[in-house]
Amino acid sequence: MLQALADGILTGAIIALGAIGLTLTMGILRFANFAHAELITWGAYMALAAVSLLGPLGGPIGPFSFGLPLILGTIAAMALTSVLALAIDGLVFRQLRGTSNHLTLVFASFGVSLLVRMLILLIFGGAATYYSNTLQIAIPVAPGLRLMPDQLFALGLAAVLVVALYLFLQHTRLGLSMRALAENPDLTRVNGVSTARVIRWTWIIGASLAAVAGVLYGLTVQLRPEVGFHLILPLFAAAILGGVGNIPGAVIGGMIVGLAESFAVFILPPGYKMAVPFLILLAVLYVRPTGLFAGTAGAAK
């Protein structure tokens, strides 16, 4: 039971990191970006590429399975994923924004996600892989609960990033502009804010968090080209559960989806685990389509 709780929180943290970027871009750019999940895969594989290049820089640190190469690789992955997100926006979404309806953008994002997934398949192949072959021994954290050091690291990093992002949104001018843009783009412009610049930073932040989510997934589960594809539904479930544009909502939404997936195995055959986020999404859209926390916290729309 305790083990399921810990696993759920870990899955939830990874979903939350991805869902934050999704909820930000959905809130600010006002369309459902199905390509967001592919940024997670891209980030994971960019870190893998960096690790294979930087390998000689050092072995595992302490109890963890990774060392300096993966830490630097994660930073590189954040940068390279931001570049991809900005390129996609510049080449596809910006061309369609303003002149096309939302559905056109949504379908364009489907196309982009296929393209990115196939590109990864082409470069890295379809086989599952890992950042490191170092074997880890799970350490007992509490009675009935054993966690790997990497899993604890993933939880810690996710928590730090969520708190940092929250402080950024609350206390910086850029964060304030992002929240304002999510509510009312015209009024934000009238107040002298360059919305193009804010949109650029929204992509960079969303893509960077997606890259970290990808690395943490690769670190605690495994790397596969369809990582993003399998995360699309949980990400949307988390973002919509929390209310589009609502950062704390996306984090809580991610946790709910992660825990639900993890506890579902007690009542459902494991094969149905994938259906859990879908059921949550359906339930939310049916009962509270604006999300659980609409109009109560953060940058709710």
Binding site: R173, D186, L187, R189, V193
Partner: protein, 249 residues
């Protein structure tokens, strides 16, 4: 007019290039004046203000502020060109606190200056200071209007443009809001506003323009226009005429 702050000449504008809403509007606002635009629904009053603010594309004509061409300036650069605009609806960020609304309005200023200006705003509008950490959605219609004024004044604009500041307000709130407008005008702020509440607007403004069907039909000192029979003709059907009831200024 030598002292014109804002000069609009022959402006043709609309959301779509092939469907202009304004068919050649010309007007002037002089330094320190409070000028009102009135006219029936669909006359293009709000469209003109949005076009000046850069939110509606201008296809012909020219907008000058203090001799500088601002016809096609991007909306987010209007602030540095000293033009502030308060939209009719959704003119505050309801998900942000009152303090955050003001901080956003001052985001283009250096930090220390922003702090001073926000302190000044609270001095002018003490009701806002009392609720500074609450979300703007808790404010009444009149208080929202004052917050929007306060926010747009932070950059000390040369020209303040208001789109129907009395819309949806109770009579008491209208007189409070208009009282503040009179004070702002007395302090030397140049104001161009669109109003549906013709009587109240004529009472506080220096000059008034009457729009109909995307053209300006009549203009003159508000006191003279208040008694003008043509005003009624415009309001009840808008016959085509271009007579000026009185020459400007």
């Amino acid at each position: 007019m030598s002292d014109a702050l804002l000069t609009v000449s022959g402006v043709v504008a609309g959301y779509r290039r092939d469907l202009p809403i304004l068919h050649g509007i010309s007007l002037e606002v002089h330094r320190g004046e409070l000028v009102t635009i009135v006219g029936p629904n669909g006359a293009g009053k709000s469209t003109l203000i949005k076009a000046i603010a850069g939110l509606v594309p201008i296809s012909e004509g020219r907008v000058e502020l203090d001799g500088t061409d601002i016809t096609s300036l991007a909306t987010h650069k209007m602030g540095s060109a000293s033009v502030a605009y308060v939209p009719q609806t959704d003119n505050v960020f309801t998900t942000l606190t009152i303090d955050e609304n003001l901080r956003l309005g001052a985001a283009a200023l250096p930090r220390s200056l922003a702090k001073d200006r926000i302190a000044q705003a609270y001095k002018r509008f003490p009701a806002l200071r009392d609720h500074r950490d609450r979300k703007a959605r808790v404010l009444s219609g009149g208080q929202r209007q004052l917050l929007a004024f306060a926010r747009s004044l932070l950059t000390e604009p040369a020209l303040l443009m208001l789109d129907e500041p009395s819309a949806g307000l109770s009579p008491a709130a209208v007189s409070e809001v208009f009282g503040h407008l009179t004070d702002l005008s007395k302090d030397g702020i140049t104001i161009l506003m669109v109003e549906q509440n013709v009587k109240a607007a004529l009472a506080i403004s220096d000059r008034t323009y009457v729009f109909a069907e995307g053209e300006n039909r009549i203009d003159g000192p508000s006191g003279v226009l208040a008694d003008d029979p043509d005003m009624k003709a415009i309001y009840f059907g808008g016959t085509k005429r271009s007579t000026h009831a009185a020459s400007a200024g």
